[in-house]
Amino acid sequence: MLFAAIAMQKKVYFRGTWLPWLLVAPQLIITGVFFMWPAVQAVMQSTQLPDPFGLSSQYVGMENFQFLLNDSTYLESFATTALFSVSVTLMAMVPALFFAVLADSVIKGSGLYRTFLIWPYAVAPAIAGIVWLFMFNPSIGVASYYLKFLGVKWNHVLDGDQAMLLVVLAAAWKQVSYNFLFFLAGLQAIPKSLIEAATIDGASPWHRFRTITLPLLSPTTFFLLVVNIIYAFFDTFGVIHTITLGGPERDTSILVYKVFADGFVGQDLGSSAAQSVILMVLVGALTVVQFRYIEKKVHY
């Protein structure tokens, strides 16, 4: 029942034996070659210990997984990923909601504000990384220079908390725009009569926001929560790769970065494949959560 609705089809349909196959063929071939096959490969390689050049390889069973699970740094990476994702989600959603509420309440210029608030969405995470690195470069960064006057010694290459803050800011920056748009749409869908009625009852703005707006926004909020977490998990590789390379120590080494670093920098193909398999399970679970939500939306 869960996925049945979305697989529903028309009552009126065409007949044809080869045509439908021909139509889905391109999608299926690409999915098969570039998605399924690599996934199978990853599972197979996760039981192997190959040398970097692929000249030889030996079967090691579950050893790659054991190696990972005994590696405290890998487990740390889970915690780092969780902290990073939650922080990015908060940093991207709270200001977005704030601006959306403001923009929803202005009569003049709301279109203009929207224009100025949505463009960062178009900035690639990797470039966001470069831009923020430039601002917070410990040697020449403008932000780090002025922070000195506030008594903050900015050196994110040494201070793990600062490094985390910086990658979170860079990653959240463009996502604020995205969340803003959805919050604004959500706010505009709330019937104004509801709020006006509450106003007449003498409810304060904060009270109105808490008891009417926020509950009515909850579907949007939940949806954004899932989207933002998935974004923080998988789309922020560029931010880490351009700003911290996972450092200092391992303070910003998120799972997706570690897969890359172990496989492409460390040449440890077995471990990288094992990490891929673990990630697949993880993203599978996340997708099901997201999908359940899609289901709900399709149904109402």
Partner: protein
């Protein structure tokens, strides 16, 4: 066409060569060289290639940048797996064991040279440099290309301002410590910074004090080597540095050479960095600076031994035709020629790889005109290397350096003591060494 594309700086020349050469000469053997140099170094490299290509008609080298050192090695390995690899690959020194282990993937340079008619005299190379890339029985596996060794750069103006006589630079870490205290007391914001912390403060520190970095002659003798850089000599140094970091005397600015910007801008007074940092400092520094040998601990017997190199060498990859190897041999021979080497050495601050290039630079009066530039060579060649100071040959060393970086950062920010950090790095690094050893079976 691809040649033209690669050498933007020489387009007019290349077009001319192209137009003149094509109709007459039969197709030259073209080989690819993947390297990790961009910017100023990339330009100098392109110039070498152009000079080589113009000097003869039989071979053409196409130089392609593949990102930084790690990315270049990766691109090479990945391309090998897809059978699209270049003939020559620039590999940084930490990749040496990985390359050596891949017997089926490389063609040792001594073989490449032996099979061709190109000039090759193994004795002509500086032992301290070539030794890193040579087997225990003296066969050169890869050709050293850019090699440097760490030295101490000093901002003389900053020292004078603090009332320190800059005419006699500190020789030992004890003396450095005194200078740092004076600078700090005078309110200096950045008395000391460093580049490449693992390379300078652990790898070279070990060699310089003649203590092992790893067992089995730092991995030269056998693959079952284990890391050993958590012995008292290294712990003492890292502990001291950690204390300096806490006191604000040592300022950590990054794993690579990020600190260079702060030294060049005059913000930092002392800077331990590769000798190759010279060119950049010379062109940017607005103050009087000098170069001193890397400091050592005065209380360690036998110190200073000699420092080891860093940088990269050129490897020939397997699976190419005889003609391509001949082209590679001709090019490697060309790179080793004293004119090319002397120019490279003087322009970049990298070490000359041959005695002849060193002599030529001497003869040209380069070291008198550029005080301090000879220090790196003397520091490397002053004493015959021991088994602790020939170099390092460790598998997965790029990752191990990453681990060392991580642990050292823990010391600098005060979250770990030196002994714990180094012990952890040794344990974690050994796990990788065992994994590497196993994958090589």
């Amino acid at each position: 066409m691809s040649i033209l594309k690669k050498e933007r700086a020489f387009i007019p020349l290349a077009i001319a060569t192209f137009l003149l050469a094509t109709p007459v000469a039969q197709a030259a053997t073209e080989i690819q060289w993947w390297h990790a140099f961009t910017g100023r170094l990339g330009e100098l490299l392109d110039e070498q290639v152009a000079t080589f290509n113009e000097s003869q008609d039989d071979y053409a080298v196409v130089a392609i940048n593949k990102g930084n050192y790690s990315e270049t090695l990766n691109a090479g390995i990945a391309a090998f797996r897809a059978s699209e690899h270049p003939t020559l690959l620039q590999v940084f020194e930490v990749g040496t064991a990985t390359m050596m282990g891949a017997k089926g993937a490389i063609k040792p340079v001594y073989e490449v040279m032996a099979e061709s008619e190109a000039k090759f005299e193994p004795d002509a190379y500086l032992a301290a440099v070539a030794g890193y890339y040579t087997t225990t029985d003296g066969q050169m596996l890869s050709l050293p290309y850019n090699s440097s060794t760490p030295v101490l750069f000093i901002n003389n103006d900053a020292l004078e301002e603090a009332g320190i006589d800059s005419s006699s630079p500190p020789a030992t870490w004890e003396e450095v410590g005194e200078i740092l205290t004076t600078l700090k007391d005078k309110g200096h914001e950045c008395p000391l910074t460093t580049a490449w912390q693992s390379w300078v403060h652990l790898e070279n520190l070990s060699a310089y004090h003649n203590v092992p970095f790893a067992t089995k002659a730092n991995g030269f003798e056998a693959a079952d080597t284990e890391l050993a850089f958590n012995s008292p000599a290294q712990v003492k140094h890292i502990e001291t540095m950690g204390q300096w970091a806490q006191d604000g005397k040592f300022v950590y600015l990054g794993r690579r050479n990020e600190g260079g910007a702060n030294f060049r801008s005059g913000e930092c007074a002392l800077f331990t960095e590769s000798s190759a940092g010279y060119a950049g400092i010379k062109s940017e520094a607005q103050f009087d600076f000098s170069i001193a040998p890397l400091p050592y601990w005065g209380d360690v017997e036998g110190a200073p031994q000699n420092t080891i190199i860093g940088g990269a060498s050129l490897w020939a990859l397997a699976g190419k035709t005889d003609e391509e190897y001949e082209a590679a041999a001709a090019f490697l021979s060309f790179l080793s020629s004293s004119t090319i080497q002397a120019k490279w050495h003087q322009n970049t601050g990298y070490l000359p790889i041959t005695m002849a290039a060193y002599e030529q630079s001497k003869g040209e009066g380069y070291y008198e005109a550029n005080l301090g530039t000879e220090i790196s060579i003397i520091q490397m060649t002053g004493k015959a290397p021991t088994e602790n100071s020939k170099g390092l040959r460790l598998g997965s060393f790029d990752q191990i350096r990453g681990i060392i970086d991580e642990e050292l950062e823990g010391v600098w920010n005060g979250s770990k003591d030196a002994q714990t950090a180094l012990d952890t790095a040794v344990t974690r690094g050994n796990e990788l060494l065992r994994r590497f050893e196993k994958s090589q079976r």
